[in-house]
């Protein structure tokens, strides 16, 4: 008994820990989709102005960016399904301000601020009033979209300066990587560090694992959640501006359904919808997986319409798979423990 106890850092060896990580599975799946596509579709790699690597990334960028703060919210066990509408609201505000002659940078800043403000509105209803985030954001999903559609009417604001719009669409010189993706990578690193390498991030996980335990451990649960909803709103506001410029079009329906695509990417990436587990990288890989599948479908000539079915089914499949996997591992644990 006097022997100094030593502990292993990990119960299982590295390869076993990595093997069934959703991130690892997704990387394999993405490679598989690409390889199979190359074999099955001879024109997959042939340059096609509509389906280049750059457009693939450009189209995926808004969802990938929206998914960053949403991942943190889902890790706390909450949800924000109003982000698509916040995007639309910011886009509408941005378009109207541009049409009214307000300088673009000012309009952009105000639009992002509006995103933050409505994010704070969600946050207050969840943390101060104490409502379930699902009910709140279903309501604000309708509310924010309704305001966007209401103020813009049936009109669309177009004609943004082409210098700006083409910059938003441009790539890093000499590479197929869009500047938007560079921005995304910077933001992803920021959010990744926040979630995985700070005390704040430890608190985020603690809330998702057990809100009461988090509160007892000195985590300010309300403030953390409020901060995340504001962040989510700010980011959705930012994406609203970028999306408007990307397509040079401010309409009320911008970002419709993006909340679904972001949630799908995150859940597909192994982030538990119950909160407490998952990684930022998982959500990103989930988003890239959906984008890759989309590209293959487009090359195959299956229209955009199929994407709804694919995304919806992928979302259901991902939760079903994770729930079945959890059940199996639980059973296995029960068997080994009685043995």
């Amino acid at each position: 008994m006097t022997v100094e106890t030593t502990y292993l850092r990990h119960d299982r060896p590295l390869w076993r820990r990595l093997l069934l990580r959703p991130e690892a599975v997704l990387i394999v799946a993405i490679i598989l989709v690409i390889v199979v596509s190359i074999i099955v579709m001879p024109n997959y790699l042939r340059p096609n102005p509509n389906y280049t690597f750059s457009t693939l990334l450009l189209n995926a960028a808004p969802i990938l960016i929206l998914a960053l703060p949403l991942t943190l919210i889902i890790v706390t066990g909450e949800i924000d399904i109003s982000i698509g509408s916040v995007l639309g609201l910011s886009s509408a505000a941005f378009g109207l301000m541009f049409a009214a002659g307000i300088p673009l940078p000012v309009a952009a800043l105000i639009s992002v601020a509006i995103g933050g403000l409505v994010g704070a509105f969600n946050g207050v209803l969840v943390t101060v009033v104490g409502l379930p985030s699902l009910a709140v954001t279903i309501g604000t999903l309708a509310l924010f979209r309704g305001i966007a559609v209401g103020v813009l009417g049936t009109t669309a604001v177009t004609g943004f300066p082409s210098a700006v719009t083409s910059f938003v669409r441009s790539t890093v010189p000499g590479t197929p990587i869009p500047w938007l993706i560079v921005m995304f990578i910077v933001m992803a690193i920021g959010f990744g560090v926040l979630l995985h390498f700070t005390a704040f991030g430890r608190g985020v996980f603690a809330i998702g694992l057990s809100p009461e335990n988090a509160a007892f451990s000195g985590v300010n649960v309300s403030r953390t959640k409020f901060t995340l909803f504001v962040l989510s709103g700010l980011v959705a506001g930012l994406v609203g501006v970028l999306f408007t410029l990307q397509y040079s079009n401010a309409i009320g329906s911008n970002g419709n359904g993006f909340e679904l695509r972001a949630v799908t990417a995150i859940v597909l990436g192994g982030v538990s919808i119950w909160g407490g587990t998952g990684s930022l990288l998982g959500g990103i890989l989930g988003g890239l997986f959906i984008a890759t599948v989309n590209k293959s479908l487009q090359v195959l000539g299956i229209g955009d319409d199929a994407i709804y079915v694919i995304t919806g089914t992928a979302l259901i499949a991902s939760v079903v798979v994770s729930s079945v996997a959890a059940a199996i591992s639980q059973r296995r644990r029960a068997i080994t423990s009685t043995a």
Binding site: Y7, S217, G218
Partner: protein
């Protein structure tokens, strides 16, 4: 003639933890059978096996001499077994009458629920129990005593032959306890078999016919109540003499660390003032629901309070901010370690370092590598039994889980540690370890505020006992004056009649 209910060698495990190793119980119709044992002895698990919540891993289970195998609670109910759990399980939005009859409401000829007859039956049932409750009111907001009456009414209306009451008196006042005991006797006289679980020996001896003792998930002994004494039962429960359990060392009692003045929260506690000094262990004693945990939670800042002040070393602690309380040197080992003390599906290291995450961070950044050293150190100091530091907390035994919680809080280097039911649900060996730890901690000058429902623990550990009754402090008893009778009296009587301190 066969017995009403008979269990032999029943076992049930969860993961690596065996909640029940080998439980025996024989219940006869027309008797009240006490089931006693320390927290964690497996009583509640046994009750859940009988009630069909868990299926047993091994052992015999006979009802009227026939082997049964319940697959669900509905199945158990169908066989005439009704359980009143520690936490009443009512539906707050439904009326009292409906709560009694959910799923079995009487129908009229037209296939519509016969509300009039349901209401009438409900009124009769509660009146028969001596506690008329308005059958039309929502269950939300009923007192715990009334909720239990509703549960019992439910059981009677089911025509249950076996009625199990799992610590029904823990949260009741004297009058309510008497009433409940009357109901239990009434049921016995009607020929039903009653299993009564309680920590209070006076009740057990006043009410029961037979007594079965359990320890560490095992059957120890069954005796007619007339043949045993309280001392014998305690010896059987603990497995050794009581004195060894509480090695409270004399510690030098120093300056005031915690100073609570006139703390009030409407409807929960009122005008609570007390102090805890460095090196001192102060126990808050009282019935479950008297407001002990609520006071402690408000002091720490997890709950709000309406008025009053809390000071640590003379500095006022801001309200409702546990982080601020921690920064001033408070720690809190909560009552429910699964929900409040630990993240069950996170690793040992993650749990130990959660409360010190700001100290562990270097330049604001944390990596799991930085967490390893403090986690390993504190796990080692507390002898946490685990192979690896990423083992999830739910894989550990109750005692080891509690050690992880203690490690988490000792790592914060507290000036004041609040421990709420620190030994609930852990085995006897670990219990002694926890007691030793708390005592050592006080020896190093830490102020300890302890809440416990176990009188021997209170008497063994405390330098001072503060009794709480209905949200008010009723007595301040020094160690030398503390006796079981005195503490119980103060905990159940209004302060004016309490012994002068």
């Amino acid at each position: 003639m066969s017995h009403l209910l008979e269990l032999h060698g029943v076992a049930k495990g969860f993961g690596q933890v065996a909640a029940l190793a080998s439980a025996d119980l024989v219940l006869d119709a027309g008797t009240i059978h006490a089931l006693v044992g320390e927290n964690g002895a497996g009583k509640s698990t046994l009750v859940k096996v009988i009630g069909g919540v868990y299926s047993r891993d091994a052992g015999e289970f006979l009802l009227d001499g026939e082997s049964v195998d319940f697959r669900s609670t509905a199945d158990a109910k169908h066989h005439g077994i009704a359980v009143i759990y520690q936490e009443p399980t009512l539906f707050p939005d439904l009326t009292v009458a409906e709560n009694i009859f959910v799923g079995r409401q009487p129908y009229t000829r037209f296939g519509t629920i016969d509300r009039a007859s349901m209401r009438r039956s409900a009124r009769e049932l509660t009146a028969q129990l001596g506690v008329p409750i308005d059958p039309d009111r929502e269950a939300r907001g009923l007192s715990i005593a009334d909720q239990q009456i509703v549960e019992i009414a439910k059981a009677i209306s089911l025509n249950a032959r076996v009625l199990i009451m799992d610590e029904p008196t823990a949260a009741l006042s004297g009058v309510e306890v008497d009433r409940l005991m009357g109901v239990a006797r009434q049921l016995r006289d009607e020929g039903k078999g009653v299993i009564f679980i309680s920590h209070r020996f006076d009740e057990v001896f006043a009410l029961c016919d037979t007594i079965t003792v359990m320890r560490d998930g095992r059957y120890i002994a069954t005796n007619p109540i007339a043949d045993v004494t309280v001392d014998e039962i305690i010896r059987q429960m603990v497995g050794r003499s009581v004195e060894n359990l509480f090695p409270k060392e004399e510690a030098e009692i120093g300056h005031v660390v915690l100073d609570v003045e006139h703390l009030s929260r409407a409807g929960v506690f009122e005008d609570v003032s007390f102090q805890v000094r460095s090196g001192e262990i102060v126990c808050l004693a009282g019935l479950v629901g008297a407001g002990r945990s609520e006071i402690a939670r408000a002091v720490f800042g997890v709950d709000r309070y309406d008025s009053g002040t809390v000071k640590i070393d003379g500095t006022v602690v801001p309200r409702h901010r546990p982080a601020a309380a921690m920064a001033l040197g408070m720690g809190f080992v909560p009552e429910d370690r699964r929900k409040q003390g630990l993240a069950m599906t996170a690793g040992v290291a993650t749990n130990i370092t959660l409360a010190i995450r700001n100290q562990v961070a270097k330049a604001g950044f944390i990596t799991s590598k930085l967490e390893q050293a403090p986690a390993a150190e504190w796990a080692r100091r507390l002898h946490v039994k685990t192979r690896a530091l990423d083992t999830h907390a739910f894989m550990l035994s109750g005692g080891n889980q509690q050690k992880v919680v203690l490690a988490k809080w000792l790592a914060t280097n507290p000036k004041l540690l609040i421990v709420d039911e620190p030994t609930r649900g852990i085995d006897v060996g670990t219990k002694a370890e926890v007691h030793r730890l708390i005592s050592e901690l006080a020896g190093t000058g830490v102020a300890v505020l302890m809440i416990s429902s176990e009188l021997p623990e209170v008497l063994g550990m405390a330098d001072r006992v503060l009794t709480v009754r209905e949200g008010r402090l009723t007595a301040n008893i020094a160690r030398v004056d503390a006796s079981a009778e005195r503490v119980m009296f103060a905990a159940t009587h209004a302060p004016d009649s309490a012994v002068e301190t």
